[in-house]
Amino acid sequence: MKQVVRGFYSVAYAVKLCKPNVICAYPITPQTEIVENLAAMYANGELGDAEYITAESEFGAASMLVGASAAGARVFTATCSQGLILMSEVLFNAAGMRLPIVLVNTNRALSAPLSIWNDHQDSMAMRDAGIMQVYVENNQEAHDMIPQAYKVAENRKVLLPFMICMDGYKLTHAYEPVDLLDQETVDSFLPPYEPAAYMTTRKPLAFGCYAPPHIYMEFRVAMQQAMERARDVMLEVYKEWAEVSGRDWGGHIVVDYPDSKIFVVAMGSVVGLLRKVVEELRNEGLSVGLIKIRTFRPFPIDELRKALKDAERVVALDRSVSFGYEGPVSIELKSAIYGHSSAEVYSYTVGLGGRDMPKDFLEGIIRDVVEGKEKPGFAFKGHHDFEEVVP
């Protein structure tokens, strides 16, 4: 049933339909209303026999979820920014313990300076944790990703945490018409969680045990293999979702106008606006296409190689930066297509800490590359000229 709801609700409602056993969270802007909605559902008795635990910190929230997941529970949390990096010590462990925790990260900038607005710096800091990452474009996609995330994460071939990244404010606070799922659809798609191994008081187990040098490496190789298997599992689940829900969000990447000479590559909510920009540029006769990266971990290597095989120029738009190099999406894109495409890559970091990216701005960036006014390489776009002074 289509309803006009906020991003928070679209996530919370989908989580409810997935029948989690334990929800544990700590409030942080712009995530709070997701767990507030879930808390209201819990108070109204809509979450069945689920446990809702209010934690003293994100570190506590993640730790409780590790315990609950190890005991065989389907779990959920949402966080972002400082909360995510406070969870990071635990989340690296959760991945190593192969616990299929599903979390929503409402992308927000990292301190300092303190910012509550949107960019991708927080989830990028978790890039190497062994957590699957999918970036969504709108609230319907966020809503639809929740059951899919559980299905992928809980697959015995995978068993890794799954993080759905949705842009803070831009999506979370936005009212959008969302076709809310019904219980029958989700039940037919997502079976109850059957953990591969779980501890009880009768059968105690220790998770993530000490591994000396002669055995540690094997566990990390196993995580990489699980991540590699996740590529195919995700595609199967995405396909099944399209059949069940009637909404096909595509594979790991979505390519608009695949025959283009110049491609814009981006992730998250900015893709919606870029689609409009690219459409208008094409109407002018310019050979510009768009690539939306949905799955960031595992990274869609083969898909990007194929899509950019004959491309001449690529504009990679990052919402974060690895200081001392460039944006992570650009870095990884270049690494993936090296030797497979001769395209020049223009790496731009834009929209940090909620800096606005209006249509004219994005159009200008692309137009400059199309018209040959730029050199390949890295640059920030959309910031003022400044001088650092000592106060």
């Binding site: 190593g96 313990m97 192969r98 616990l99 068993l159 591969a196 191994a197 105690p204 187990l205 220790a206 998770f207 993530g208 045990c209 591994a211 055995i215 094997e218 566990f219 196993a222």
Partner: protein, 97 residues
């Protein structure tokens, strides 16, 4: 040959028994059966449950589990009867030339 590893480094209880830690330390405790009164002070203080008062026929005195004792010396220092001496292991007895 393929080795087996547990998913998520999950382990069942009592696995640490397989890891003998008795060779970690430099010293080892030696109990003087004559001086020992089986008072169990050492037993209560041992951080690794490695010394226990046991019955040997008619006799009763503290016995050390050398498989896991790391030689911290607490038993020796808490013994009210100075019945436990810490000895340096032979491999640490170097001659300085």
């Amino acid at each position: 040959m393929k080795i087996k590893i547990n998913l998520g480094a999950i382990s069942e209880p009592m696995q640490s028994e397989k890891l003998k830690t008795g060779d970690w330390g430099t010293h080892y405790p030696v109990v003087d059966k004559e001086k020992c009164t089986a008072c169990k002070t050492c037993e209560q203080y041992c951080p690794d449950l490695c010394i226990e008062v046991e019955e040997f026929g008619e006799e009763k005195y503290a016995a050390v589990d050398y498989n896991y004792c790391k030689g911290c010396g607490i038993c020796s220092s808490v013994c009210p009867f100075e019945a436990i001496k810490m000895e340096l292991k032979d491999i640490f007895k170097f001659e300085v030339c």
